[in-house]
Amino acid sequence: MLSRSVVRAGLKGMISATPASAIFRPAVALQARSTSTNNTTATTHAQGDEILRAQRLKRPISPHLSIYQPQLTWYMSSFTRITGVALSGALYAYFAAYAASPLLGLHLESSAVAASFATLPFAGKFAIKLGAALPFAYHSWNGVRHLIWDMGKELSLKGVYRTGYAVLGLTVVTSVGLALM
């Protein structure tokens, strides 16, 4: 700050001393700049934090997912978590409800669930079974893929894609097979 001001003051003196015709163009801009006030205010640490917080709130947050090119790698990674949360969520929902069923008066015994499931038409049964089998098969096969990686194998780009396509193929075959059981 100090050096900048000194330079500015020095330039100013030079400009005023030389005839106007001899100076390069930015003379006007320089003059205008030097007249603007540069306010500096002493702030406490807390006030500084407040300014920083306000500044940070205006920052763009970490890039939106859609800016990335869809790639097998991160799409499969995301779906592993999504299917895992869906499967575990179903497990938790059922057994929590089963634990609370006497209080809530619900009938979630296997016989009752099976009886209500039996009333559905074939298409309905197939759709529900496929809806359950697809995340189960995907998460299971990709879990095996992760365990292969944990052993230090198939960690090349080629290996990642090869195992990725294998998981997708196995998922389709297994889930359709399970849904038809």
Partner: protein, 181 residues
């Protein structure tokens, strides 16, 4: 910084041409005499559109910008032991999942082990989600609430599983009943 600038003013005034002198001194004096309230000047960092999925979280500043990132104390139960345990459960789930398909039915104890392993696997998975999506620094209270809600849910689910294993037919037999209904 303000005092550093102030020392330059006489030089600036002395070297300025008489025409611009009054303007500079007047504005400079004004800014020093009457301190303006703290202003937050926010610069636009990016010209691209902001695509926020969620509103920006609270900005929590701990320490100063010059502090090094804290290194958590090394703890094997949060590191390698946890990782090994995670893998052990995941590896154990492979035979436990295949066994009912291969044998047609499983011993009730095996079924209970499968159920418990699934709950532990799910609990670890949900824990990872809580840690990822509720950063402690920004959402400390929410993180605590989510962690305890998950612990409570897991206990309730384990109770439900116990009830299901002792009073009902067990997981593999239950799924088979519904699947073939």
């Amino acid at each position: 910084m303000a005092s550093a600038f102030k020392t330059c003013v006489p030089r600036l005034v002395a070297r300025s041409s008489p025409a611009s002198l009054s303007g500079i001194t007047a504005s400079a004096a004004r800014s020093f005499v009457r301190p303006s309230p703290i202003q937050t000047r926010v610069a636009a960092f990016h010209a691209s559109k902001n695509l926020n999925i969620l509103p920006v979280g609270p900005q929590v500043i701990q320490g100063t910008v010059n502090d090094a990132a804290p290194v958590p104390p090394p703890n094997p139960t949060h590191g390698s032991f946890h990782w090994d345990f995670e893998r052990l459960v995941a590896i154990g789930l492979i035979p436990l999942t295949i066994a009912p398909f291969a044998a047609g039915s499983v011993h009730p104890v095996m079924d209970a082990v499968l159920g418990a392993s699934l709950v532990i696997h799910s609990h670890i998975g949900f824990q990872a989600c809580v840690i990822d999506y509720f950063p402690k620094r920004q959402y400390g209270t929410l993180r605590k609430a989510a962690t305890w809600a998950l612990n409570g849910a897991t206990l309730l689910v384990l109770y439900g599983l116990y009830e299901y294993e002792t009073n009902d037919v067990g997981i593999t037999e239950g799924i088979k009943r519904v699947w073939t209904a």
